[in-house]
């Protein structure tokens, strides 16, 4: 099994046999690995047609839908874990979706590019332009990402909504970062709920 580095971290956090809802599941790589190797069951939600068909070919339960329309159709606590992998920063209604996650599942794993990463800070303060980096490969005018945040910002949003942070991890490149996470990490992972 050869998962993308960031997906491997999420994979490791998900207990065997969990019922998983993977929001923005892309081509279903994570879900497929969870079903095959961890006896999980679940569904992926994806909006992009090519990704949906790729996930179909993998044989995972993929549903084409727009997350912006919310999680209303899912019952309370109908899943063990919800995954929101590098999607939250591109959503209109970030706070609503975060609350939705907490209603539908017992815990959620959220990952997002860290705007507080030192290279991003450098580009803005010294370069005087919006950052373009490994986890944020877009320019300001063509980015799908509309809600940038740092680790600190996400901590505050969780606190405001009384969401407990169970675990936090940070990566730069394909390495885990343990110190000065908000400064040295380009990608953040939270296990909340």
């Amino acid at each position: 099994m050869n998962l993308r580095d960031d997906l491997q971290l999420i994979y490791d956090w998900i207990p065997e046999g969990s019922r998983v809802l993977d929001l923005g599941c892309g081509d279903g790589e994570l879900l497929s690995a969870l079903v095959t190797h961890k006896k999980c069951s679940g569904y992926g939600i994806e909006i992009n047609t090519d990704s949906v068909i790729a996930a179909m070919a993998r044989g995972v339960n993929v549903i084409q839908a727009d997350l912006e329309r919310g999680l209303e159709e899912f019952c309370d606590h109908s899943f063990d874990v919800i995954v929101l992998s590098q999607t939250i920063q591109s959503m209109q209604n970030t706070e609503m979706i975060l609350r939705g996650l907490m209603r539908v599942a017992d815990q959620a794993i959220v990952s997002f590019p860290n705007f507080g990463y030192w290279r991003n800070r450098l580009q803005l303060t010294l370069g005087g332009h919006m950052p373009v980096s490994e986890r944020m490969p877009y320019h300001w005018y063509n980015t799908p990402n509309i809600h940038w945040c740092t680790l600190k910002d996400f901590d505050l949003l969780c606190a405001k909504n009384k969401i407990r942070i169970r675990e936090r991890a940070v990566m730069a490149g394909n390495k885990r970062i343990d110190r000065f996470q908000n400064l040295l990490g380009s990608l953040a992972f939270y296990r909340v709920g």
Binding site: S41, D50, V52, A55, M56, G59, N61, V62, I63, S78
Partner: protein, 379 residues
């Protein structure tokens, strides 16, 4: 799919059933025939059979041609054939004309063995459940215990869904395309307008038009014209015809002036020439009655809770008669009960008829799904 081939020249076969069939309304057909076409080879384990259920005006002629001179192939020739998404090199594909149909299966135009006359209006209204029952008898005829897949669009998708509910262990995969778990009020309303056009045609003669040598062609034509409009989307229709005129300038009369009028009248006439009015009536009734949730306390989740099949559900963005929201109802019920389901909402400007067309992501998605069905039956 450009390199994919055709199943070639095909020949329909009439299969007789002498076991009585009790219908939903209590009436019994002592015997009946089903007109069937098959493509590909049934494997030794009889595990590679795919049933294609037809929609409102469909029949058994799914793919290929009946003769070299045949102008048009079967109604789903783009989907079924060697190398096509429903690959006849892999699957044994069965198409049939439903009970009550007018293309060879027992229906209003057949002889009633009890009277020696044609059934006409006396042919009982059949339901989706009845069709599924008769199709199970057809499966038995071929020695097929379990279908690799039951596939259908629109009314055909309803049959696929009903199959998974009535015979959970006899369907491995269900493909429900441009369909709905029950008709909307608006759909029932449209169906009644179509029926009224037929029922009020002076040549209808209470359904016994054949005995009186009349044909309610006008009613059937109007019903089809109205239906045809609702199966298309303004996107596609507008692009195709716009306000183009058939001749120069307005005639200030009621003849054919706009291209779209000419097109619809042609379609209506063509249909009225090949379809039976009583069949049209009873097929639209079968649509109206379909509501598996009604048998389960109005809960679709309850209706599908014993389903074992895996599902592929597809809808089309401009289909306003069977809108994506209707397909989502089924998808949500399947998710709520933890069933396996894949769902795609295809962007298309073909409206409801898109399920018969070749929108690229749609064809690719069905191919991907059927490829997994094939892997599944070989594992």
């Amino acid at each position: 799919m450009k390199n994919a081939g055709s199943v070639g020249i095909v020949r329909p076969e009439k299969i007789a059933f002498d076991t009585p069939l009790t219908l939903s309304n209590g009436r019994v057909l002592s015997r009946f025939d089903l007109m069937v076409e098959t493509y590909g080879q049934l494997n030794e384990q009889k595990s590679n059979a795919v049933l294609i259920c037809h929609a409102l005006s469909g029949n058994h002629h799914v793919a290929g041609r009946h003769s070299a001179e045949d102008k048009y192939p079967g109604w789903w020739d783009n989907m079924v054939g060697p190398g096509k998404p429903i690959d006849t090199d892999r699957f044994f594909v069965v198409g049939l004309n439903n009970l009550g149909g007018c293309h060879g299966s027992t229906g209003p135009t057949s002889l009633n063995p009890q009277t020696g006359q044609d059934y006409g209006a006396d042919f009982p209204v059949v339901t989706v459940k009845d069709w599924v029952k008769s199709q199970a008898m057809l499966a038995d005829h071929f020695g097929i215990r379990q279908w690799a897949a039951v596939v259908g669009g629109s009314l055909g998708g309803m049959q696929a869904l009903q199959w998974t509910i009535d015979f959970p262990d006899r369907v491995r995969h269900a493909l429900v395309i441009a369909s709905a778990p029950k008709l909307s009020t608006q759909n029932i309303a449209f169906n009644d307008v179509a029926r009224q056009a037929i029922l009020t045609d002076p040549d209808f003669n209470e359904g016994h038009y054949a005995r009186r040598n009349t044909l309610p062609g006008r009613g059937l034509k109007i019903a089809r014209m109205m239906g045809h409009i609702t199966y298309l989307a303004e996107d596609g229709l507008g692009k195709k015809f716009g306000r183009k005129l058939h001749s120069d300038g307005y005639q200030y009369g009621y003849g054919v002036e706009f291209e779209v009028e000419s097109y619809l009248r042609y379609q209506g006439d063509k249909f009225a020439g090949r379809f039976d009015a009583n069949t049209y009536l009873l097929m639209t009734k079968a649509l109206d009655y379909f509501d598996p949730a009604a048998d389960a306390g109005n809960s679709l989740s309850k209706a599908v809770q014993h389903v074992q099949a895996k599902f592929f559900v597809a809808s089309f963005s401009t289909d306003w008669r069977f809108s994506p929201e209707r397909s989502k109802e089924l998808v949500n019920a399947l998710i709520a009960t933890g069933k396996a389901v894949q769902y795609i909402e295809v962007k298309s400007n073909h409206g409801h008829d898109a399920f018969l067309m070749e929108d690229e992501p749609y064809i690719r998605a069905v191919a991907a799904y059927m490829n997994n069905v094939y892997k599944d039956i070989r594992s």
